[in-house]
């Protein structure tokens, strides 16, 4: 019996969990559900020991426990299969599974190779995984890797097994094998928490679902008595509304600027096609990790794509690096400013000028004085609140930093601007201004593709919303179809699209 009571966790100003409570009996399988940023991953991390909660109590069989580290969590009987996998790429399957708890020979403490191999082979057989014990983890296919991650967690013989979206990369038959094993483990008394966004699955395997919204546990429902619409309502606060959408193909024949045909990126993006007109703002919606981020990064040349075709102004883009993308007139703004866009120690002027460097020649001159004069104009035009143009960009607030990044691209006026959650961690006022920038730019003929996790932003800014679900576009919403209810149901994969060109 495990009880989590009033768990709180904040990352800076963002509250990931607020007074979330979950109970779990041994031998029970529950589903932990929630939309983007609802705190389900944080919940798993708290139990796995990689994140420490700010306040709240965790009771195990009535006794308070303190999960201070990942090792402590394992000792208490928790075992986690992580969505991002915790395998060491250059170690073999056997080593990966047994890492941290090798079966040792008695007095010498040496690894008993035979016993370890036997144990892992048994697990491989039980989960019907086809791979050799000596394969390196990096050589395996994604679905096998996920299965190895699962048996790595199972191999600890845990009392509480946490599965964080492990089924996302699995094939149907693998899911079946997993579910059969989960049931037999539950029968042996193991409590299993399953985090998933595939709502269809949970009815098959779980008895109960705990639903998180905005970090709060809003509902604890018996799945036998609850239908999918109610669950989606709890997750999003809206009743989903299914609709069959037909796309008006004729309209797209004119002025296409960007065309993507059957784009495939590994298993993340499967056969996505899209056609974008000049001056259009396309919103790319969906739960996190459904392939949207990979999709726009492939257009920008950050990650290679496996097959398909991208055309800009009718010309095929087969660039492999971002320099060519910028020269072809594509810009990219990431919401993860610190990791992917700003140079925090450099001046505001240099930050704005940086994209110009990619366009200019390798040995052209870039004098500080000239940079400052040119970029000051951008700053004035767009009302970015700064001290001096030569101040480091880290002196600005998050919203103004993001405006600097916008300014960087306005300076080079790309034809197509790609954005990945651009208003993440930006306050409301700055968010509105940034959205205004986008609309103005689009009116002047810039084409915008924006990934966003914020449904309101998508509905407000974009002309069309393409909703990604498991690497495919599950719906295209436009005009009167652009409602939050429909967006929500498409995000959950509850919408069928009957139209050629979007689905294969």
């Amino acid at each position: 019996m495990l009880e989590l009571k009033n768990i709180n966790k904040s990352y800076g100003a963002v509250r990931a969990l607020r007074n979330a409570s979950v109970t779990l009996k041994s031998g029970e399988i529950i589903a932990l559900l929630g939309a983007n940023g609802s705190g389900k991953s944080t919940m798993v991390k708290v139990l796995g020991g990689s994140v420490k909660c700010d306040s709240g109590t965790i009771l195990m069989d009535g006794k308070t426990v303190d999960i201070s580290s990942s090792a402590e969590s394992r000792r208490l009987g928790f075992s986690v299969a992580y969505q991002e996998l915790s395998l060491i790429p250059r170690m073999t399957v056997c080593e990966n599974v047994m890492l941290g708890h090798y079966i040792r020979k008695k007095p010498s403490g040496r690894i008993d190779i035979e016993e370890n191999r036997k144990y892992v082979q048994e697990l491989l057989d039980r989960f019907k995984i086809e791979c050799s014990l000596d394969d390196l983890a990096s050589d395996l296919s994604p679905s096998v890797r996920s299965m190895i991650e699962i048996i790595k967690a199972v191999s600890w013989k845990p009392g509480y097994l946490l599965l964080d979206e492990v089924t996302a990369t699995l094939h149907t038959d693998e899911v079946e094998v997993l579910f059969r094993n989960m049931r037999s483990m539950a029968a042996e008394g193991v409590a299993i928490v399953m985090v998933t966004h595939r709502l269809g699955e949970i009815y098959e395997i779980a008895d109960r679902a705990v639903i998180l919204r905005g970090g709060e546990s809003v509902a604890d429902v018996n799945l036998r008595q609850t239908d999918m619409d109610t669950i989606v309502y709890h997750m999003t606060g809206k009743m989903p509304e299914s609709v069959i959408y037909k796309q008006a193909e004729a309209e797209f024949s004119r002025d296409r600027i960007l065309e993507v045909k059957n784009l495939v990126i590994g298993e993340r993006v499967r056969n996505v096609s899209m056609s974008v007109r000049r001056g259009e703002i396309i919103g790319l919606g969906g739960l996190e990790g459904q392939g949207q981020s990979q999709f726009i990064r492939a257009i920008y040349g950050v990650i290679p794509y496996s097959s398909g075709e991208i055309r800009l102004n009718g010309k095929i883009l087969d660039h492999v690096n971002t320099t060519e993308a910028v020269r072809a007139g594509i810009g990219f703004i990431s919401g993860d400013r610190n990791r992917e866009s700003i140079f925090s120690q450099r001046s505001i002027g240099e930050n704005i000028y940086s994209a110009k460097l990619a366009v200019g020649s390798d040995f052209g001159s870039a004098v500080t004085g000239k940079i400052n004069v040119q970029t000051q104009k951008i700053v004035d035009d767009y009302g970015i609140k700064i001290g001096k143009i030569s101040d480091p960009v880290s002196s600005l607030s998050g919203g103004n930093q993001q405006k600097v990044v916008f300014g960087r691209w306005i300076f080079v006026t790309p034809n197509v601007l790609l954005l990945d959650d651009p208003t993440k961690g930006v306050d409301v006022a700055a968010r509105h201004e940034l959205q205004k920038f986008l609309k103005n730019s689009a009116n002047r003929g810039m084409t915008v593709l924006m990934v966003s996790c914020d449904n309101d932003e998508l509905l407000e800014v974009s002309d069309r919303i393409c909703v990604f679900y498991e690497g495919r576009i599950s719906a295209v919403l436009e005009g009167e179809n652009k409602t939050e209810e429909k967006l929500v149901s498409a995000m959950m994969g509850m919408m069928k699209v009957s139209q050629e060109g979007v689905q294969e």
Binding site: I88, R104, R110, L136, S141
Partner: protein, 355 residues
């Protein structure tokens, strides 16, 4: 088919390039040196001069497995040397054996201190061990400010002697290789590899990354201590300065053997192969200039700096080949899997590497 499989498997081992490079350099050496290469005395010289570097590289390898680096190894080896030689001379009544043991323990202690700095205080390994190297260098100069002292003949005779034509220094190396072969069967070493492979995932598996880092530096200290003893017997005196140059050589040797500087890949055998390669390169170029070329061009004579130039050129080519061989193994691996990672190796999605 089966043989083909074994070959393919060997090619994917970290030692692959080390073995190839060593084989090539042995052939080159035989060409330049002629049949003299097979003489016992020739083996003896090559091995006894290179044993300290071989052992030092083995120590460096363990740290490289964790993805860290130790640039204080050469000077620590010098400290063992200086301590073992000067203590019995400066302090009356200080037993010689105790000086060796204390010197050795000092090296282990310095390894431990490096481990604490890098593992617990999270100081970048380059900085922590660089700072440490200056502290150790200072201590060395306090004990012994210029090359001096003498190791008694009885001691260095053991090192330079041989049993049935096999040099004793080779036995020293083989003993340590044996230590490694036993050691690598322990979970602690697997954890060291795991740490170098992916630090976050190692932590998530419930392994203490702090303890694993300290363990790696401790093992390194043990090997550096052994290298110090071999170094002392080879020099047969105390020298506070020359050992420092061995640090970078040991890192180069580890890379030549097939260890990855980014961590998680390699073995101590790689270190041995790489260090032997380094030793043989110098030997080869020396004979190239004093033996082979004069045969064709009578009266040929150039400054020894040309020897160094050619030797370093060969080493650079070797390192390039070794790194390329390793990265090919990795691209083969990534081709087999999904290309969802960015070329820089970071997560292409939104999950930060924060914990």
């Amino acid at each position: 088919m089966k043989q083909n499989n074994t070959w393919m498997k060997f090619r994917r081992q970290p030692e692959y390039m080390g073995v190839v490079l060593l084989a090539v350099i042995i052939i080159l050496n035989i060409i330049t040196q002629g049949s003299d290469f097979f003489k016992a005395s020739s083996f003896q010289t090559i091995l006894s001069t290179n044993t300290p570097l071989i052992i030092l590289t083995m120590g460096q390898c363990v740290v490289l497995f964790t993805g860290n680096i130790d640039i204080s190894t050469g000077i620590t080896m010098t400290l063992v040397n200086v301590f073992a030689v000067m203590m019995p001379q400066n302090v009356p009544g200080f037993p010689v054996w105790l000086a060796y043991v204390t010197g050795f323990l000092l090296a282990v202690l310095i390894g431990f201190a490096n481990g604490i700095l890098v593992g617990y205080f999270r100081i970048p390994p380059m900085l922590a061990t660089y700072g440490m190297s200056y502290i150790v260098a200072g201590i060395c100069l306090i004990i012994c400010d210029r090359p001096q002292g003498k190791v008694s003949r009885d001691i260095w005779k053991i090192y330079k002697g041989n049993i049935a034509g096999i040099p004793n220094s080779l036995f020293f190396v083989l003993c340590l290789v044996l230590v490694w072969l036993v050691m690598k069967r322990h979970p602690g070493i697997k954890e060291i590899y795991a740490l170098g492979g992916d630090e976050k995932n190692t932590y998530l598996t419930g392994i203490s990354t702090v303890r694993t880092t300290i363990r790696a530096y401790l093992i390194s200290g043990f090997f550096v201590g052994c290298a110090g003893i071999a170094w002392t017997m080879m020099l047969a005196s105390a020298n506070p300065t020359t050992g420092d140059a061995k640090t970078l050589q040991s890192i180069a040797a580890a890379l030549l053997g097939g260890t990855l500087i980014s961590g998680g890949w390699g073995s101590m055998i790689c270190g041995v192969l790489g260090a032997l390669f380094l030793g043989l390169v110098t030997n080869t170029t020396t004979y190239l200039f004093i033996n082979l070329i004069p045969k064709f061009i009578p009266g040929f004579s150039v400054s020894t700096y040309y020897q160094d130039f050619v030797a370093q050129l060969i080493i650079l080519v070797g390192i390039t080949l070794s790194v390329m061989a390793n990265s090919r193994v990795r691209t083969d691996a990534s081709k087999a899997s999904r290309p969802d990672k960015t070329p820089s190796g970071g997560n292409s999605g939104k999950d930060g590497d924060r914990q």
